[in-house]
């Protein structure tokens, strides 16, 4: 048994990402068209040049026909992928393995979700009635379970912890404010965030990610072919995905202050990528900030902060865009929005811009270039504390020596 990875064997040569938001004027077909057309254009190719497709959507379509019909693809293989909120990253992971294996030369992963046609402001999920015994807690409620547990374990005053969560939302809104593709392009004051109406537990409206429509796409090929398409590819350093056994939800040993699935997938991805000190080696991280306490806990699970200290690091600004390790410089799920199937590829899109120093100057991070760092991390989590799937990917702008 081994997780060997495919370090540097696959390159990203083109990407596209639609603006995210309440796109009442965009259909599923429109979103797929916008993302894939931008993506192939950035690689200087046409859709005809793509050999195989992986389509990630959790609930906005079934089967490969969801992609082939609007794009009029000519009898191409299209795999529909679903893995909760890690759906987009899962499409990307499988497309990478397809070209690494030699089965195809050029593959595309597309992530898309159309959430806003449901008529509800939050996620509505899929039918899982069965015997009727599943507790009907909403997503924010499930993640809010982290808050009292974290406060209790580390002796953090609940009001202080609330201000930590508020600062996470404030930071991500601040980043999204300078991102023309983000759903919410506005800074929000800490006072307003802290005073927002409660949704679940200590979480207010501003502690929740934006529910939105959107799509993103990436083209990958084997590294030796990358320079046919671009002078500045990104290289895939590590890809890890784990689905947990649902231990925490039934095991009293679990204390609701960590995601074991994230710890495991991070260790695997770091090992594949040769990362030993993520906080010092990564130029940036795009993490799954579905709710503010998720981002807090992820800082520890991903090894960016010691256990029980992330709340202090947040207050110290460590993860601000101009901090030691910028986290979610594009605004994150919080501000960029969270169309489920698209989010993993939206994170990759920010790495694509930042690591190649093509982000707008007002949000270009300083850790790359003269900052000397070349690696970016993307992370998705689907499910909730105690029972989830987790993806951690590492990409870099330089091949390993």
């Amino acid at each position: 048994m081994a997780s060997r990875g495919i370090r540097d064997r696959v390159a990203i040569v083109g990407m596209g990402c639609t603006p995210f938001g309440e796109l009442w004027d965009k259909s599923v077909d429109d979103l797929l068209t916008d993302a894939t057309v931008e993506c192939v254009a950035s690689a200087g190719i046409s859709l005809d040049d793509v050999d195989a497709f992986w389509l990630g959507t959790m609930g906005s379509g079934l089967s490969g026909l969801t992609l082939t019909k609007p794009m009029k693809l000519d009898y191409k293989p299209v795999t529909h992928v679903e893995n909760f909120c890690a759906t987009g990253s899962e499409a990307f992971r499988n497309a990478c393995y397809a070209v690494a294996s030699g089965a195809y030369d050029v593959a595309m992963a597309v992530g898309m979700e159309k959430l806003k046609d449901s008529g509800y402001s939050g996620l509505t999920g899929i039918r899982q009635v069965g015997d009727g015994t599943l507790a009907g807690l909403s997503s924010p409620a499930v993640f809010s379970l982290l808050v009292p547990a974290y406060a209790h374990k580390y002796g953090v005053d609940p009001d202080e912890l609330k201000s930590v969560l508020t600062r996470i939302a404030w930071k991500n809104h601040r980043n999204g404010a300078v991102n023309p593709r983000a759903q919410f392009q506005k800074e929000v004051s800490m006072e307003k965030i802290a005073a927002s109406p409660l949704v679940a537990g200590q979480l207010g409206v501003f502690d929740c990610s934006g529910v939105s429509d959107g799509a993103a796409a990436v083209v990958v090929c084997r590294t030796e072919d990358a320079h046919r398409y671009t002078d500045t590819p990104l290289y895939v350093k590590g890809l890890s995905f784990v689905a947990g056994p649902g231990a925490g939800i039934i095991d009293p040993e679990y204390d609701y202050t960590s995601f074991e699935e994230v710890v495991r997938s991070a260790a695997d991805a770091y090992q594949q990528a040769g990362i030993t000190d993520p906080r010092a080696q990564l130029a940036m991280a795009e993490v799954h900030d579905c709710f503010t306490p998720t981002e807090l806990v992820l800082m520890e699970d991903l090894g960016f902060a010691e256990r029980g200290t992330a709340w202090k690091e947040v207050l110290a600004g460590t993860f601000d865009r101009d901090g030691e390790l910028p986290v979610n410089p594009d605004g994150g799920l919080k501000s960029f929005g969270h169309p489920i199937g698209a989010s993993g590829l939206r994170m990759l899109f920010e790495c694509w811009l930042q690591l190649r120093q093509q982000a707008p100057p007002e949000r270009q991070i300083a850790t790359v270039g003269e900052g000397g760092r070349t690696l970016g991390l993307t992370h998705n989590l689907g499910g909730g504390p105690g029972e989830c799937v987790s993806f951690v990917g590492v990409v870099g702008s330089e091949p390993t020596d």
């Binding site: 009727g132 015994t133 909403s138 379970l145 679940a200 537990g201 009293p252």
Partner: protein
Amino acid sequence: MAAGIVSWGVYLPYWRLDRGAIGAAFGTSSGKGTRAVASYDEDTTTLGVEAARRALAVAGAPVPADLYFSTPAPAYLDKTNATTIHAALGLPPTAGAYDLCGSVRSGWATLNLSALSGEQRPAMAVIADLRTGLAGGAEESQAGDGAVAFVFAPEGGVAEVIGQASATDEFLERWRVPGETASRQWEDRFGEEAYLPAARAAFDDALEEAGLEAGDVDHLVIAGLHSRAVGSLRKELSVTAERLAPDYGPRIGNLGAAQAGLGLADVLERATPGQVVVVLELADGADAMVLRTTDDLVAVQEARRQSGGPSVAELADGGRSDLPYAVFLTWRGHLRREPPRRPDPERPDAPAMLRNEGWKFGFSASRCEACGFVHLPPTRVCLSCRAVDKMTPLRLADARGTVATFTVDRLAFSLSPPMVGAVIDFDGGGRYRGEMTDVDPAAVSIGTRVAMTFRRLYTAEGVHNYFWKARPVSEGAGAPDEHAAPADARKKERA
């Protein structure tokens, strides 16, 4: 060893409606005191389950061979409600379960039938009522919700039936057509005229059958929804005032079909051996039962205290009375409150409910025979040691637990938002994430102690979705738990 009642249990819901709140809403006077109110997630079936659990929690209570359930407000027609109670109690399939539903008087039939049946093999009577009435009316303010359960057995009876009599009469006094939530009543004075002769006859005949006279009666319980007739009889029957069972109506209201049982339970909790108890119920005529307590009463009274089961007096004193009248009206379907903007819940699947009967209705987990790990819901593969199909069912409905973390969910669909969610670790193993009920959201914290209670989560497409929720319990010394959970006595007995 006498045949008769061997155990009993009473359940009153957590909520009380202050009658003053009704008057405040209508700008009228609505009387003093409170009434017991079933919560939004309770119906007569769940009320009955809780009363029955208390009756069976008493050490030495036998497993009933037959269960008879009665209510004038059944959750289902055609489908038997007693089978739901049977499943929630985890009774063996060989135990019968039957409804006697519809009229208030069917509650008496249930008591009678159980007493007769109990002479042969253990039988349980479960009687529940949930009374609503029209907004602002007398029934709304004066009635109450609750349930009682009595176990009868061939031996070990603490009260044996020594006389009974009926006086049946057909007269239109109180009625309700199916589908209506409020009953209608003929003029009050007519009802009194109709009831009094029947009540006198039943009372006298029952005593005569027992070979006793009114002066021999130590405890008299008079039940009936016709309060004017009941009041007259309390004065008229030749029993001194101190021998009249207390009227808890001012605090909990009149429990309708369960009222006679409530009075009998209260008497059994206070009586001494060798006393004569008469229960008289006015419903479409009158019925009377004469019982004599036995020497076994003292031991069962003690066993009940040991089981943590609250007394009727304690229950009547308990409860939470800050229920807003508008919330009460919403729960009873009289006020259509805007629901959270979430999809409506869907009905559960019948095959899945049957496959998972032990879990859904009995809150039965699976315990790994190889390593002891407890799984909720039950699974075939062990999380801890990965053993496959080495599981033993483990009923946790009666276990206590502790809140590991919690939330107040203001987004989730609930018939009475917000939903309180909690992660619960059970004493002796097992973790479950679910809903809490009968809870003040502000009072929940890590470490809160809970017990499980059988509830109706919601109703969709005419299907009642029953399952278990957690409710806080106080376990401090000298603090009787108003909602006390059963002890493990019966579980041990069955094991």
